[in-house]
């Protein structure tokens, strides 16, 4: 049901005229709000965005969207039904409020807004999602590199109908098994780095020539006199060949199974591929939570303030906005009962504000810490550059300022199982700033947070056992029960035995070993 209002722009909002009065809104109001926000976002903030599509939905539809991880269309699986039941139960009992909006990284950028929102909330939501998030999706390097905003909806449509067709042809049960297994491996289904392009002959020849030239340039007869290395570097040629053939070691387990698992049928491989691509699509979002929310929150804050200054928001509306804005960026302290980790909105917004301050009114300390940006005067330029070129980890490592650490009163606690008590490693003081910032940034490094598991070898000559290693960072092992279950799924897909060794990277010792044999459910 499309009720698009493609009229001529006769309602360009004039400064000094209220966009709306009271809480009610209609499509005309939404359009006015959008145009007013656009007038701020473009010229004043210099944002660039995908065309906006704003969709009004009901609470039930919001729950629907929750269940299918926010996407407007998605394939069917029982786990989504489970999540829906979960959300619905807590929503009905009033334990959970629903989000005011969901925004989808697509072109055009779709923002879902709830019909229950007041006009002020719609303004906030449009400023936040349709401009803030939208700008971030369009410009951040991770999204540019990993996601295809234009194609995603078409792809999901394909995925949905493909899986539905598979269900018809091969039965619900069979498809469900594959999806269960693929979902279990979903977080091991992403490429963390752009893959190497397969070399072609011409470029290889060129590189070879360059290498030779370089060798000739730096040739020095003296090197000849050095004793040759003993044969330690030579590995097992069969192993080398196998590894090259199977592209091992491989941390994208779903990719590995899709390409190499010997017994999967083509449709099963395609389903693995679908799950893998969906996981890949969401991977940037996990890495940019703080920045993405920080960007959107900062944008809505600037836009709302600008509207208020132009006299387009009434004071009542402005106060309503401030109430929900402060709720969103509330950060309870560690000893508060409601503390649940760092609030990405709070941290993100505080950092964006802080950067703007450093650029515009730097202190002496800021000039020492951030010589590149301190006092340059163009806050939005600096922020846009951050939003484009960083992810959470690098952003915090680069831009978390001593002042903000002091304001947030951050401190660093280390819990070492070999010691009887936990230790305060660093606090917000001169000696602690850099150490703490480094550890803090690391907590936002997805590669650091996710267990590092990779396929290392396959016993091709023997019983085709698949061998995986988990590099147990800081000796933190996997949760046993879950690991066993996931490994079972993995073995089912592989079709033969699989073994997962948890290795301490420091000493090379095997801490735990899990193994599983394939059940005959796929073949």
């Amino acid at each position: 049901m499309v009720a698009s209002l493609s009229r001529t722009k006769s309602t360009a909002p004039k400064p000094g005229e209220l966009l709306f009065t009271g809480n009610d809104w209609d499509f005309e109001t939404i359009r006015r709000i959008h145009d007013a926000c656009e007038a701020v976002a473009g010229p004043e903030l210099g944002l660039s965005w995908y065309p906006n599509q704003i969709e009004i939905i009901t609470a039930e539809q919001m729950l629907d969207a929750y269940a299918s991880i926010g996407m407007p269309l998605f394939y069917k699986h029982w786990s989504f039904g489970k999540h829906f039941a979960q959300h619905e139960a807590s929503y009905r009992r009033g334990l959970m409020g629903l989000a005011y909006e969901i925004v989808i990284n697509s072109d055009p950028c779709i923002s879902y807004v709830m019909e229950e929102n007041t006009a002020t909330m719609q303004t906030l939501v449009i400023a936040h999602a349709a401009f803030g998030h939208n700008h971030f999706f369009k410009n951040n390097y991770l999204f540019k590199q990993w996601t295809d905003a234009e194609g995603i909806l078409d792809y999901l449509d394909f995925a949905k109908s493909y899986i539905a067709r598979c269900e018809e042809r091969y039965g619900h049960q069979a498809v469900e098994h594959v999806l269960d297994a693929a979902h279990a491996l979903m977080s091991q289904g992403v490429h963390r780095y752009p893959r190497k392009k397969r070399p072609d002959l011409a470029s290889e020849q060129r590189r070879e020539r360059e290498r030779e030239e370089h060798g000739e340039q730096i040739y020095n007869d003296l090197w000849r006199t050095l004793p040759a290395k003993t044969g330690a570097a030579k590995g097992d040629p069969a192993l080398e060949r196998r590894k090259a053939l199977l592209e091992l070691p491989q941390e994208n387990i779903l990719y590995f199974l899709e390409k190499v698992a010997p017994r999967l049928r083509p449709w099963q491989r395609e389903i693995l591929r679908i799950v893998r691509l969906v996981a890949q699509y969401f991977y940037p979002q996990r890495q940019t939570k703080v920045m993405n929310e920080g960007c959107a929150t900062y944008c809505h804050y600037r836009i709302m303030n600008a509207l208020s200054q132009k006299g387009q928001l009434s004071e009542a509306a402005y106060l309503e906005f401030l109430t929900s804005h402060t709720n969103v960026i509330r950060q309870p302290t560690f000893d508060d009962r409601s503390f649940g980790g760092h609030n990405p909105y709070a941290l993100g917004f505080a950092m964006m504000q802080d950067i703007a301050r450093i650029v515009e009114q730097p202190s002496q300390e800021d000039r020492e810490w951030f010589p590149d940006i301190a006092g340059t005067g163009d806050a939005m330029g600096v922020l846009r550059d951050c939003w484009e070129n960083y992810r959470d980890e690098s952003f915090i490592a680069q831009f978390l300022s001593p002042k903000l650490m002091r304001d947030m009163r951050l401190f660093h606690v280390v819990d070492d199982p070999d010691e009887p008590e936990m230790r305060v490693e660093a606090i917000h003081d001169e000696r602690g700033y850099r150490k703490m910032r480094r550890s803090f940034a690391r907590q936002y490094d997805v590669a650091w947070l996710d267990p590092d598991i990779e396929v290392v070898d396959v016993d091709l000559e023997g019983d085709r056992k698949l061998i995986l290693h988990h590099k147990a960072l800081n000796r933190i092992t996997l949760q046993r029960e879950d690991a066993r279950r996931v490994l079972q799924h993995l073995a089912d897909l592989w079709g033969y035995d699989a073994v997962l060794k948890e290795v301490d990277p420091a000493s090379g010792a095997v801490l735990v070993e899990h193994s599983a044999s394939a059940r005959p459910i796929f073949f």
Binding site: I56, I57, H172, H342, I453, N474, I476
Partner: protein, 432 residues
């Protein structure tokens, strides 16, 4: 910019997901549903469809790190007094600095049971699955319940709203043609001719005028639409067949029946009622209680009041027979009967009851269930189970091949299994 209103889109987008989910948890859900039937007040069965399934069956495992193992780092906001090098005691319950979000508290508790709510339909579907009404097709299931209207040709009288226009005009046209009513064109052609003749002073003028007069006269005498042409659409009422059933609850209320026994009986009746209402649009219930004489009573009295006196089962059967003959002709009604008793009966009554059942009651019934309710503690171990008078009477009947199902129930938790046994699908059913 586009604004799209999605509110009118059909809802229930995640219904297929829910169905898949229910299918997934079907076994556990079914067990939970039956569990709830055992423990909960049967009266409210299915009203509150909240069920709990163990998290195990619907778990989505992922590789995740064991929280609290190994070396952990926490960066926390809101420092008040700590300085570098301070020692902090571990909070009870293992690692994890003051419930740090990064620690992912509750990783171990992911086995938690999962709660969700079933709709009443879903609940009853699971609850009554693979149960079947015996001998559903034994006799005519339909009798007149409501009257529907349907088109039935045309009639010459009726209300103007039902006027069948095309049919009426068709009649009128054929009549006009048959009676040669002058057509409008004929008249106007003649008028034109007269006008011409007048102008030319034609001598035929009087003739023509006379002819016109005749035509007009004829038009008047033969009307365009005559009452005789009128036809109305006719509707006739017809009986809408609706399957209906009557359920007879027979219970012994003599002094020997304890509250516990009555409770058992009640639970059984309620189950039967739920089951029948799922199958029949219309279910009536007749309550007959008896001591040494039987009366038809309302539900309240049936379960509530207590009588004293001897026990004469045949009295209830006579009463039932009377009611069946008076109000529920076996041709029109599906008759189900459930009798609950502690098994006491005057021994001389045996042959009378047998004869009544064999000759009158059983042939009229779709299903007759006898439920013998016992003491909560049941027959004590080591004692040979005592066969009651009534049990022996009925057992003889059942052995003779009469369609009579009988079960003994001691405890509330047995009610549902017994019910399932009685109404289980034929192929799954051993007897009865």
């Amino acid at each position: 910019m586009h604004i799209v209103d999605r509110r009118l889109n059909p809802g229930g987008k995640s219904l297929p997901n829910r169905q898949r989910f229910l299918r997934r948890v079907k076994d556990v859900a079914q067990r939970a549903v039956r569990e709830s039937a055992r423990e909960k007040d049967i009266k409210n069965l299915g009203k509150d469809g909240r069920i709990t399934v163990p998290g195990d069956g619907v778990r989505e495992p992922r590789f995740s790190r064991q929280p609290g193992s190994g070396h952990q780092d926490y960066i926390l906001p809101g420092n008040k007094t700590y300085v570098e090098g301070d020692r902090i005691e571990r909070p009870p319950g293992g690692g994890g600095g003051s419930g740090s979000g990064e620690g992912g508290e509750g990783g171990e508790n992911s086995e938690d049971a999962f709660h969700f709510v079933l709709t009443r339909e879903e609940f009853l579907d699971l609850f009554l699955e693979d149960l079947e009404l015996p001998d559903l097709a034994k006799r005519r299931l339909a009798i007149v319940e409501t009257e529907g209207l349907r088109r039935a040709g045309y009639t010459v009288s009726g209300s103007p709203a039902n006027l069948a226009l095309s049919r009426t005009l068709r009649n009128s046209m054929s009549r006009r043609i048959a009676l040669k009513r002058p057509k409008l064109e004929e008249v106007s052609a003649l008028e034109a001719e007269i006008a011409e003749a007048e102008a030319a002073n034609d001598p035929r003028l009087p003739d023509l005028q006379l002819k016109l007069l005749g035509l007009r006269e004829r038009s008047k005498r033969i009307p365009y639409v005559d009452p005789i042409d009128l036809r109305f659409r006719r509707f006739e009422p017809y009986p809408k067949p609706i399957a209906q059933a009557v359920m007879f609850c027979l219970m012994d209320v003599s002094g020997s029946m304890t509250e516990h026994m009555k409770d058992l009986a009640k639970r059984f009746y309620i189950l039967l009622h739920i089951f029948l209402t799922r199958r029949y649009k219309h279910v009536e219930i007749v309550f007959i209680r008896h001591t040494d004489k039987a009366t038809e009573v309302d539900e309240e009295t049936f379960f509530g009041s207590r009588e004293t006196g001897g026990t004469l089962v045949s009295s209830a059967l006579v009463e039932m027979k009377r009611i069946v003959t008076e109000r529920y002709s076996p041709d029109d009604w599906n008759i189900y009967a459930a009798q609950a008793s502690d098994g006491d009966n005057v021994s001389s009554d045996g042959p009378t009851s047998t004869e009544l059942l064999r000759a009158h009651i059983l042939p009229a019934c779709q299903h007759f269930a006898y439920l013998e309710v016992g003491d909560e503690n049941g027959p004590r171990a080591g004692f040979v189970e005592h066969r009651t008078t009534l049990w022996r009477t009925y057992e003889a009947l059942a052995k003779a091949g009469e369609p009579l199902a009988m079960r003994k129930v001691n405890h509330r938790r047995d009610i549902y299994p017994v019910f399932r046994e009685l109404f289980g699908r034929k192929d799954a059913r051993a007897e009865a």
